[in-house]
Subunit: 356 residues, 3 copies
């Protein structure tokens, strides 16, 4: 953590322990004014120790308080320290981080002079609308929502309370975004899906897209990710879903709650993803199939059939994790196997010759 | 189709049948004011039946007219109905949809006050220029073209008649886009290609890119797709081409008419793609090779050699569809094959021992 | 090269030879006013010949001067020509191209009326700020930097001298970009990484991202590429790095000098890439591993383990180039191998039967 990341407030160890959820050992009235790595922390700062690899720094750190994994709390250098002891020290530290480094926010109620807000739209007085934003007819922007620079809302978009829409995001007609979401720069939500009817001469007729994208609460969407509106009905992104950068979600897909997808994954039309799935990066999935809840797809896999059983899958086409690993191991032996079979053929041929 | 998708006009069944191309059975003077799913349609609405799975709804629907696949037109509940009978009911329905749900358009002739239009550019009086658009020197924007919010045209860009450019699109210097195209939000057309000369110390010299991107008529380009300008000459996207979201087209590529590429596919420099090709999602293709007309590349394939014969290809590296499936099937048997060969080796060894 | 690419200046052959680094044969006082392909060049223009395939045009070209690969300089038609002879004719020609086609630049010192520049920012008087740009608190924009239309700089961004930031680019809080960089349209640099803690109920807590992205000098970043800020510390893009379009670089990654990555490649969190690596398109790499200097990863590969030896790697999971090719070749023989083993089994079984 660099020197320029400074605390803006001071808090007592007691306050931070209550917030973070650990047990205080030592002086809970100390004032903490910042956080830092264990090897760099100075007096007045808090640090954390959750990994045995860093236990050597415990006697050396200048931190005024250490959030310590309970299994490491009695190591050398712990004695006399002010500590917050926890079974999940990293999570406790993250909560303290969230306090010391609140996300960037524009001024409450900002209406930048260069923003275009259609008079038929309803923007909550507490919402902030940054420079160059375009809010079209019939949009609704909720309480304390933040639209950073150059965001474009097509007609009928609804942005929920406390949702943050970063620069250069586009929301297509009728997009609904829930509360407490974060949409990163350049994401495109609610453009037309890729749907055509082929004509006998090979040309295509466009299928009109009159559906919408509906995004639940507490969703995070990565930079330059694209989520298409349904032809008819809804593309649904469930509560708590997290999508990384450059992800593609086609028209009519539905994604269950708390599913996470890493960067550059692509989901084809009308696929139905279960809850609490985890997709690695660059995964592809064909349309009109589904996954159960609790499915894990490893990076670069290709899902071409429904996955109705929770568990981990791998490969293109995707197989159960164990099967895929066995196939990969066998594949590594294949060049040698070829030689061995040639040798066997020779031996068998010889023995036939000898026998005749 | 949700309740809030309402018709804006009423049309007679006769008018719609002439438009959609089917044969009317029943009262062709009925007025249709909207469209809906067969199970949800109300009096005054039109629906369609193209899939035998939904034939059970035929006796039940409240629709005033049904576009019916000819093979299903004499089923239970058909009698006494007003129907438009067709050999391609879904296509007919799409045409009716196109009528009832015309795409979103800005006001004809709009020049939003926040747009910057260079005086040396020629923008047709009927074209609409949305808020925050930037039209640089020497651009030409055609009749009834629509530039939604924050579109940036670099110098010398030409946008054809009736073409729609959605929010946050960038067109690099000299880009030509034909008529009736749709460019979805965030697409970048005509930025420099990825071309460098390596120096002896490992650093790179940039190869100047002075070519352009030329896009034909009736092309659709997906959200956040990137199409690079040629170093010299043109990157060519043929008439009727459809590219999905997050596609990458490198410098100097040419794509034949009516070729379609699904999301996240990437084509390397100077590749030449034939007409009426279909690429699945996440396909990669190396540079300086070509495909014949009528080639189909399945999702996640990697094309590393020219494909001179029409047909379907699969895998990385891509093989003929049948070959790839046979290899995949064999691969699944490989772990067992390994065991069987070990067993054979044992048997052969034993018989040799016995023979000696 | 099309007719509309015209030279803006005239230069003597001597001047161009000194610039490009070759040896003049013939009249070095001739004035060159443009460049063109060998088959299209007219008097007054310069062309080049580096590939034996085009040697047939040497007697025919109307060019006033030809940059010729030394091995081709005594071919038919060379006699009496004004030539610049070089061991690297294409590189020489590129240098001449760079002279004749300088990159597009806005007017020095431009402050477009529609740009929003926070008074706490420092923009060098020579820098050009295009329409719709947003420069937030505490930014620094260097000498002769160019920000094309609708660029958004979040607070604390620094743009180095002579760096060009193209339209619709977003730089997140605290991003540092060095000198002479080119950032292509739609790139997102410095948004939050994809980091969460899973809660027992499957929901996620966001890990605050307080680090930055630091980009060196002479870096080029492709269209719609996304580079995330570190959770803590820095995501580092070394001097001279070249990233193509739609690349994903996760939080905390570091990339060594002069490494190049082709389009749609994705690098997971905290990976450390060496110097002078070359990644093909659509490569994926897992987090927290590293590559040595001088590693080459071929297109569509998946890097799942550290690569500590320079050389070429291929496949998913990535293997040494030679191993991967041998496995692919063996795989092609697998369907036949299966049949051969079946045949062997039959023969061995028969000989056992005969023996008993």
């Amino acid at each position: 953590m660099s020197e320029d990341i400074k605390a803006r407030h001071g808090y007592t160890v007691r306050y931070l322990a209550d917030l973070a959820g650990g047990t205080v050992v030592g002086d809970d009235s100390q004032i903490i004014t910042g956080v830092n790595r264990i090897e760099s922390a100075r007096p007045g700062e808090m640090t954390f120790l959750s990994n045995a690899k860093f236990v050597k720094f415990l006697p050396l750190t200048h931190a005024s308080c250490i959030i310590v994994q309970s299994s490491l709390a009695s190591g050398e250098g712990a004695e006399g320290r002010t500590m917050i002891v926890s079974d999940d020290a990293y999570r406790c530290f993250v909560r303290v981080m969230q306090l010391f480094f609140p996300p960037l926010r524009m001024e409450r109620g900002l209406r930048h002079a260069s923003a275009s807000i259609h008079p038929s739209s309803t923007v909550h007085e507490s919402a902030a609308i940054g420079p160059g934003c375009v809010i079209s007819e019939g949009c609704v922007v909720g309480e304390c929502a933040q639209l950073f620079a150059n965001v474009v809302l097509y007609p009928g978009t609804r942005i929920g309370d406390n949702t943050v829409v970063h620069a250069q995001v586009t929301c297509g007609p009728g997009t609904h975004i829930g509360a407490r979401c974060i949409i990163h720069p350049g994401a495109v939500i609610g453009a037309d899906g890729f749907g055509f009817l082929e004509n006998p001469d090979g040309s295509y007729d466009k299928i009109p897209h009159v559906g919408i994208v509906e995004i639940g609460d507490d969703v995070e969407i990565g930079s330059n990710t694209a989520i298409d509106r349904a032809a008819v009905g809804k593309t649904v992104i469930g509560n708590g879903v997290k999508l990384d950068n450059l992800v593609h979600i086609a028209h009519g897909v539905s994604i269950g709650e708390h599913t996470a997808m890493a960067a550059q994954t692509g989901i084809s039309g009308s696929a139905r993803i279960g809850s609490r799935n985890r997709f690695g990066g660059q995964v592809g999935m064909v349309g009109h199939i589904e996954t159960a809840d609790g499915v894990i797809i490893e990076a670069q896999s290709g899902v071409s059939k429904p996955l109705t059983t929770p568990g981990a899958y791998l490969g293109s086409p995707a197989k159960e994790h164990r099967t895929a690993l066995r196939m990969e191991a066998a594949l590594r032996q294949l060049p040698r196997l070829l030689q061995e079979v040639r040798e066997l053929q020779r031996v068998v041929e010889e023995s036939k010759d000898n026998a005749s």
